[in-house]
Subunit: 220 residues, 2 copies
């Protein structure tokens, strides 16, 4: 597992710097410091390597559940912005997902998964009475996800992502008034400073869950 | 001028299909049906060709001025969505602008120009009392532009841009309540059907202006 992780991190760096087309397996081998056999055992092709990096988008993307589901949505958006700046696997998978040829090679699987995750949170929010009556969760999920991606592209282009948490915060302050009932809107914490907190709390929760699962498995 | 246009249209097709890196001048020559000499006279390099395509983003991007400046902003967004689906030059320049290596080669000039255009319209809207008092035109311009780009990326990926006008309409319905005073918000027409109308009216206006300029020049 550690070898697999080392390979993915090396591949993430290479894809992030060069893009998919220009990346080579040789360069990944150099950086990962593993044997050719080990690399091909885990990832038989460049496409498999890129798919491995893309799959990492969802690992550790969780946040601590919130009573107010719109706060949970804000936290997901902020935590992802934070990871994007500090985790090369998150950064590379975002870059790969946006490369134009990628859809032809890998399909639209990841985008569809993100849309479903956001839609589900919005549906829960609707059931709890957090949303204005006209809101269509699927349509708003599309707008929120697409706008998040646009903010990531702009922040990457104009500031090397230095202002990403700030821009995601600003984006949510622009979008939420159109879907949230006023009493809920007033309680939402969209401050950019929250990004690091919720990202770290999410990772702690995931680590605890993994530990508990391991303990349960060894007790059997 | 007609040769230049034919070359740009051929280049737009080649860049749109293959991306910048994989595009070749040979393929542009084949499609444009012009001599190598003519091509190099207008565009001495692949980079010059791409810059020519990128510059086309702003030609014909105008819309008919509106008394309500937020309506003008909606019209710009809808008209651009319409052009993106029907004008290969607009489509290719959007694709080029989003390719990851492009910023390194061409800088962030076009993005900065769009931000300024949107910010200026929002400033005029503010002066006319159309905006809520807390709105910062530069910050909202960033959010509106980035979100527009994200919607274009998603629509391209998930529907081949078939739903772009609809999605831009939906995006503006999500964003405008956070910046417009209610009395203005109620008057704004964001229907997707408006996209074709405003794009065509903008082109008619530009053609009339060009004719008048020509007539004035020949009268001198």
């Amino acid at each position: 597992m550690r070898t697999r992780r080392a390979i993915l991190e090396a591949a993430a760096e290479v894809f992030d710097e060069n893009g998919y087309q220009a990346a080579t397996i040789g360069e990944v081998l150099n950086r990962a410091g593993v044997t050719k056999g080990a690399l091909y055992f885990h990832f038989p092709s460049k496409q498999a390597l890129a798919q491995g990096v893309l799959d990492e988008q969802f690992r550790g993307a969780g946040v601590v559940p919130q009573a107010v589901k719109l706060q949970e949505l804000v936290d997901m958006a902020l935590a992802l912005a934070h990871r994007m700046r500090h985790d090369p696997l998150a950064s590379a998978s975002a870059r790969l997902a946006l490369e134009m040829q990628m859809t032809e090679i890998f399909g639209t699987g990841n985008t569809t998964i993100w849309l479903k995750v956001v839609e589900d949170v919005l549906r829960e929010a609707a059931e709890q009475g957090e949303l204005l009556p006209h809101v269509d969760p699927a349509e708003s999920a599309w707008v929120f996800s697409a706008a998040w991606t646009g903010a990531q592209v702009y922040s990457h282009m104009l500031s090397g992502r230095a202002d990403l948490e700030y821009r995601i915060s600003s984006l949510f302050l622009h979008l939420l008034p159109s879907i949230a009932v006023p009493a809920v809107l007033n309680t939402l914490d969209c401050r950019p400073q929250r990004a690091a907190e919720v990202a770290e709390a999410g990772q702690r929760l995931a680590a605890e869950e993994a530990e508990r699962a391991e303990a349960a498995a060894s007790a059997v």
